[in-house]
Symmetry: C2
Subunit: 375 residues, 2 copies
């Protein structure tokens, strides 16, 4: 019997029973696909959870979690209303427990929560849609910090980088948000695909994009207290300038002056990009914040160099750009900051978009600034 | 109040409330770390699930799922017995629902299930432990198939690849198991780190490793039936030889003859590597299967070229290697296959290890064959 059973499942080329997963579910699960984007841009989501009493879908294109219904095989499902084409995070809530979609390999890289990603392509390719254009390369590297040890970084090189060994490129340092990780900008932000598409359309200057793990250590691993993120930021600053930047400039064909270095980031990483960029005028002429995390009481401290002499700041910055959504919880503090920049006569561009603190907005902001950088 | 609240959470640099996660959990969760490897190689796992009635830990170093206990804040936890140093998949089972660890960014890339990964390093670095040695680069690429569209592939180049533009390298094509994806060999199999370490110890020839998405399409997206995997395999074969191989040899400095091409794979991908390798004697002189998926009734069909003339087969193969664990569900069919190879006088090396159908064994098998290839 056992042999027959093993044969039967090897006909299926080693589906669940001979699986490398830790074995939790019954051996024979119903086969299904999730998520499935329908032609009208509605999406069908499914989860096998025969023991659950209540399962909801929580997706960023829904106003609130939507109840799913269970069939006789224990598979919960829902088909949503048509959604606006974009790539959205989602998760299931099964009896109060958040679960990413086990049938979907596309996960939101993060160390604070688990969400899956669904891409609704629509009829016209979006700027982050994979299209048959020349593609750059995303490489993962490890560099070393004497204090912090092995550090991961993802590096995008534009199409053609490998072909011409003499050509040098400008560099965008791109920081993720709090609890995100070094892969979030490519996997959720599609930074590489956005640049591939913009370069193919001659709308962006080919550039290298450097996406490090944007903290010294996970926030949760240090004792709490209001100073802990300042310490983390100081340690990351040291790592960024002493280890990461030299690693990039040693291993890639970069143009090593401030006119050819940009820094941008989202949320916590947006605050960091402003802090690193504005306080290091010899390093960066292009500074962008995407819904940058900031505190009013830190405005003076974190902007010390930029505020010292506005005309000097305006002279050296080729772009100082801030984007934020009207529904973002950070909008009020960022609005205060923008007003302060006006008062101080520090030139800046703003992009007040619809929506909230989302990676849908992040993709839009990156696609916007990528068309401005190094021009 | 709202402003105060937002300030308070921005002090924490945008922790859960201003988060890009779909909002499912209450705003203020207790802060904790999971997993935490203790000095004695025991591990503490935690999950915030205040509404759950029962939570278990399912880890591949445990014989069976172990009950966790809940504290007053709704955090379930367990500290295991000390475990043998290795990297293991695990998940939680909360009221019957399998959940990867939301606090752990290290996930098992897969489209059939979700597991997290915990690394128990121990006092001596293992062959897959990240060490401060020269590191190669893992790059993700997209190539195109006229039939299948955009196709992902991960490519490892050894340390020093970028430094000498004249040097060419042998290539190992490395296939994942069923429901695994193109990132499984690096993230779960640590193929890049194993090679970095072996090259640093002068135990392996520096090589390029090509890790494609090893199917034409996810198994579940086609109607079922016993032939479906054969069709999938035929479509992937076409893609592999017509699109992937030319893409690699056009874009990398490869040595393009059979003596400098190897193919290996795990589970379903092990079956594929034998099928591709043995039936294409002009392409591969090095053929390895790690617990290769196979069916007794397909032995003749899938080995047609190799079985035709054993002495010719023995002459052209520099290595024909099969590894499997004694507790692997596939052991009986692989044992039959090995016996058939003996009967046919086809020379092969075998490695019958302890353990089952696991990525712990996969890492061991890769570290073993990598010391034999291209020598």
């Amino acid at each position: 019997m056992r042999t027959t059973f093993i044969r039967m499942i090897t006909v299926l080329m080693l589906l669940p029973v001979i699986s490398t997963a830790v074995k939790a579910q019954p051996a024979r699960q119903p086969q299904f696909e999730s998520p499935k984007v329908n032609p009208d841009n509605s999406v069908t989501f499914k989860l096998y959870a025969p023991a659950a009493k209540e399962v909801k879908l929580n997706a960023q294109f829904l106003k609130s979690p939507a109840p799913m219904s269970k069939d006789s095989a224990g598979v919960w499902s829902i088909t949503t209303e048509p959604a606006k084409p974009d790539m959205y995070p989602y998760a299931f809530i099964a009896d109060g427990i958040t679960v990413a979609d086990p049938k979907n390999q596309y996960l939101f890289p993060n160390e604070g929560f688990q969400n899956s990603l669904v891409e609704i392509t629509g009829s016209t390719p979006l700027i982050h849609t994979v299209q048959n254009v020349p593609h750059g390369t995303v490489s993962s590297h490890i560099y070393y910090s004497p204090e912090l040890g092995a550090r991961p970084v993802m590096i995008y090189t534009p199409p053609g980088y490998e072909k011409d060994n003499a050509k040098k490129y400008p560099v965008l340092y791109l920081l993720h948000g709090t609890t995100d990780v070094e892969e979030t900008w490519t996997k959720v932000g599609r930074a590489n695909i956005i640049l591939d598409n913009l370069v193919a359309q001659s709308k962006a200057t080919p550039m290298i994009i450097v996406m490090p793990y944007g903290r010294a250590y996970p926030v949760i691993s240090k004792s709490s207290g209001s100073l802990r993120n300042w310490e983390n930021l100081q340690e990351f600053k040291k790592d960024f300038f002493n280890n990461l930047l030299p690693f990039v400039e040693k291993n890639y064909r970069t143009i090593n002056d401030k006119e050819h270095r940009a820094i941008a980031g989202f949320s916590g990483g947006g605050g960091t990009s402003l802090y690193f960029g504005l306080n290091n005028p010899d390093k960066f002429s292009w500074v962008c914040g995407f819904a940058p995390g900031m505190l009013k009481e830190e405005f003076d401290r974190n902007n010390a160099v930029a505020f010292e002499d506005a005309s000097k700041t305006n002279e050296r910055l080729k772009l100082f750009w801030i984007g934020v959504g009207k529904e973002d919880g950070l909008y009020p503090v960022i609005a205060d900051y923008l007003k302060l920049l006006d008062d101080k006569k520090i030139r800046h561009e703003t992009f007040i978009s619809d929506g909230g603190h989302t990676w849908m907005n992040c993709k839009l902001y990156l696609a916007t600034i990528a068309q401005k950088l190094f021009k």
